[in-house]
């Protein structure tokens, strides 16, 4: 019997509200922060500590396009758990 794995990808969304809702469904506040960070890094996001309890990640879709979606995620943590998620998106171009 196989177990379905929750999966999140920014490429399914066109606004921050829907992406944040989906992200929080997979990585809800109170859950461990490590899997969320691992998933973000695995998909190509650049993550960096932005304070003692906050990690900021930036994910540019399809690097190389002349204009596309650039996603920003801030994960606030308490101990090893997600306390709050914030997602934003902008269209980035040259």
């Amino acid at each position: 019997m196989s177990e379905e794995t929750a999966y999140f990808r920014f490429e399914a969304f066109a606004d921050a509200a829907s992406a944040q809702a989906a992200f929080e469904a997979v990585y809800p506040p109170g859950s461990a922060i490590e899997p969320a960070l691992q998933a973000l890094v695995a998909m190509g996001a650049q993550c960096k500590n932005a304070g003692p309890e906050r990690v900021a990640c930036r994910y540019v879709e399809k690097p190389g396009d002349v204009a596309g979606w650039c996603w920003h995620v801030a994960l606030e943590r308490r101990d090893a758990s997600i306390e709050r998620v914030r997602v934003n998106v902008a269209i980035t171009g040259m």
Binding site: A56, G64, V66, A90, M94
Partner: protein, 180 residues
């Protein structure tokens, strides 16, 4: 915001021919350390880039109306708080300081006015011409600033290269616009 420092920022956004290109935006920092961005971008993306995507209202294509000026619409400026999880936040972005102290406050106000003017002109967004980088540099030019890009950063559309990069003849030719 009473800016104490204004910077031109370059954030890596992709690669062309193996060369990383950067998205430019402007950043102001006040005396308390609070930061605001000012950035240009297209009004929208082509419908092909919305296919299969969802918004909080459903299918992204359902509410899509193609802009009259083309698939990317017009050059659009936005401003807001620069903070983790916010638009354009990039802790590893390169920077070039444009002004500090009182001059920064004056420049930031001028930049906001200039960006409003460019926005009102409804200039069609051309992703390989008058795009986001061109617009960021244009508002600086309109404020009398001759900006230098952060060193060794390629920003197509900006129309200028950092002096440091020009000295590196081995790599600068890739994608470099011809300036006559």
């Amino acid at each position: 915001m009473n800016a104490a420092r204004v910077e031109l920022m370059a954030s890596a956004a992709g690669k062309i021919g193996g060369v990383t290109w950067h998205h430019l935006f402007l950043l102001a920092t006040d005396a308390s350390g609070a930061q605001s961005y000012l950035r240009a971008g297209p009004q929208s993306l082509p419908a092909t880039q919305l296919t299969g995507r969802q918004t909080e209202h459903g299918d992204a294509l359902e509410d899509y109306e193609p802009p009259a000026t083309g698939p990317y619409g017009v050059i659009t400026f936005t401003t807001g708080s620069y903070e983790p999880g916010g638009v354009d936040f990039d802790p590893v972005a390169a920077n070039a300081v444009l002004a500090t102290g009182d001059a920064a406050a004056v420049l930031w106000n001028k930049l906001k006015a200039a960006s409003h003017a460019v926005h009102e002109e409804a200039i069609p967004y051309d992703p390989i011409g008058k795009g986001a980088n061109w617009a960021a540099m244009e508002v600086l030019r309109r404020c009398g600033v001759e900006p230098r890009l952060p060193p060794k950063r390629w920003a197509p559309g900006a129309g200028a290269w950092a002096a440091d990069a020009e000295q590196e003849a081995v790599t600068r030719r890739l994608g470099q616009p011809v300036v006559i």
